[in-house]
């Protein structure tokens, strides 16, 4: 009887561990956007002779990574357009006005993924990108996904580069010229979870 009880206990323990292990392996991990170790920056042509660089300082978001089934992963980002910073206060004020971003009417730029598929080095993400009141489907690679543990928190990082045309997002056509239509957006982000 003692032996039968021991076998039963061992069996139950193994079964429990298998179940828990299976759930850990298949559970999606949610990472919050880490603004301290991330950046969203952009550059656009000026007079077709040089580049103007800038960044957005107020960004928020999250991504859910399901390593068992990457197609169930998702990425979400919200940028407060008022936080645009090109290292020149007068230009930043100009960019906030309706000739450009019109931040009082369209305070955020948003991205929400609709599908994710694994590729070499990361994921190919497709989703709805909303800027200046216009939403378009875009697809881009999110390269990265390596995880590091620091101070009891897990960090994962991704990088991507997007090319967008302001004319596709209902920006004022008269304001396209001195500043080029196409902007290159560089996103280097880290997500963190406990």
């Amino acid at each position: 009887m003692h032996t039968a009880a021991q076998v039963l206990i061992r069996s139950l323990t193994v079964a429990t561990l298998v179940c828990v292990g299976h759930q850990c392996a298949s559970a999606a991990d949610e990472y919050a956007y880490d603004p301290v170790h991330s950046s969203v920056s952009f550059k656009a042509r000026h007079q077709n002779i040089s580049w103007i660089h800038g960044r957005f300082n107020a960004v928020d978001g999250k991504f859910i990574l399901d390593r068992q089934d990457p197609t169930k992963s998702s990425f979400q980002l919200t940028i407060k357009v008022d936080s645009v910073d090109t290292a020149n206060a007068a230009r930043d004020e100009h960019l906030r006005q309706p000739d450009y971003f019109d931040t009082k009417q369209f305070p955020t730029i948003e991205f929400k993924s609709t599908s994710v598929k694994p590729i070499e080095g990361g994921y190919e993400v497709t989703g709805d990108f909303t800027m200046h009141g216009t939403t378009k489907k875009i697809t881009f690679p999110m390269i990265g996904g390596k995880e590091a543990t620091f101070m009891n928190c897990k960090h994962v990082g991704f990088s991507t580069e997007l090319k967008l045309k302001r004319s596709d997002y209902n920006f004022d056509k008269n304001a396209i010229g001195p500043i080029g239509d196409e902007a290159i957006i560089l996103i280097d982000c880290e997500g963190v979870r406990k």
Binding site: N88, A90, R91, E93, H94, R96, Q97, P98, D99, D102, T103, K104, Q105, P107, H132, G133, N170, D172, N174, A175, G177, P178
Partner: protein, 304 residues
């Protein structure tokens, strides 16, 4: 880059078109019935302004996105018939006040629709709507009263000049399209007024005045809440036409009418010029480096 030549052409064509409309529509010298007068004035202003918009390529986007789109697609088409209606002599001052108050609240709400100002706690939008509506109805009441007393062309002309100044300030504060949008309306209002005055047509310019006040407030409102125009500058420009009241002080009543009208214009022009000069100085200070206007003195040249 801003096309200053196009702006000039739009202004001249708008003013000329409105003046020609006055000459063409009013074929007789005897006074016209009030409603006909107001309709002709509104039509002349509208034709001149639309011509200016064609030259500048300024049209509302579809779907409507920003405040300027809502102004030209919704607010002004609603404002023009209403201003013709409230300009009737049979309309008492109290009824006009109520209509204009309701219109001002609706105008402000329409222009702010979908923006950050209508989000969050209710106290903020209520404060904005109430304060802007108060400013609008006060200015409208004072200028309409002055018009009823004097029936002088200098009053709508003062409003037309204020609209141009408002446009320049909004433009120099960084919202180019918003500022340029004022130019055809300023020119059309001035053209209608000058056309009626020069040809001695017995046109009641009340509708010109009313439409002008709406456009003035709308441009300043958009410049303040969506551009970088400060509240102080917006209030100063809105109040500038009220300087026309100075010529009504008892000490000046003995003056010849032409001297009093010259004084009205001179006071408004002086005030607007001071505002424009101050605005230009601010523009040179803030935006100069962005436009490549650098100080090229030797002391600042690192490689000389």
């Amino acid at each position: 880059m801003p096309d200053v030549l196009a702006w000039g052409v739009a202004i001249v064509l708008s003013a000329a078109a409105s003046a020609v409309c006055v000459v063409v529509f009013v074929r007789r010298s005897a006074p016209l019935p009030g409603a006909v007068s107001r309709l002709i004035c509104a039509a002349a202003v509208l034709i001149g302004a639309v011509l200016g918009h064609i030259v500048l390529g300024l049209w509302p986007n579809w779907p409507l996105a920003g405040a300027l789109d809502r102004l030209f697609a919704i607010a002004l088409p609603a404002a023009i018939p209403l201003q013709i209606f409230v300009g009737a002599k049979t309309m008492s001052a109290a009824k006009r006040f109520v209509w204009q108050l309701l219109f001002a609240l609706a105008l402000a709400w329409t222009l702010l629709y979908g923006s950050v100002y209508l989000q969050g706690k209710l106290i903020k939008p209520i404060a904005i709507l109430a304060s802007s509506a108060t400013l609008f109805v006060t200015t409208d009441a004072l200028l309409s009263r002055l018009w009823a007393r004097t029936q002088q062309a200098t009053i709508p002309l003062a409003v037309a000049m204020s609209i141009f100044t408002a446009g320049m300030l909004v433009l120099m504060a960084g919202y180019i399209k918003g500022g340029v949008a004022a130019f055809p309306w300023s020119a059309a209002l001035a053209g209608t007024t000058i056309g009626a005055w020069l040809t001695k047509k017995h046109l009641n310019l009340a509708a010109v005045l009313s439409i002008g006040i709406v456009v003035l407030f709308a441009i300043l409102f958009i410049g303040r809440f969506f551009g970088a125009l400060t509240t102080g500058w917006a209030v100063l420009v809105a109040a500038a036409p009220l300087l026309c009241w100075v010529a009504e002080i008892p000490a000046l009543r003995a003056w010849a009418p032409w001297r009093r009208e010259c004084l009205r214009l001179a006071l408004v022009i002086a005030a607007l010029l001071i505002i424009l000069i101050a605005g230009k100085q601010r523009f040179d200070r803030k935006m100069g480096p962005l436009l490549g206007q650098h100080d090229n003195s030797e002391a600042n040249c690192a490689h000389c």
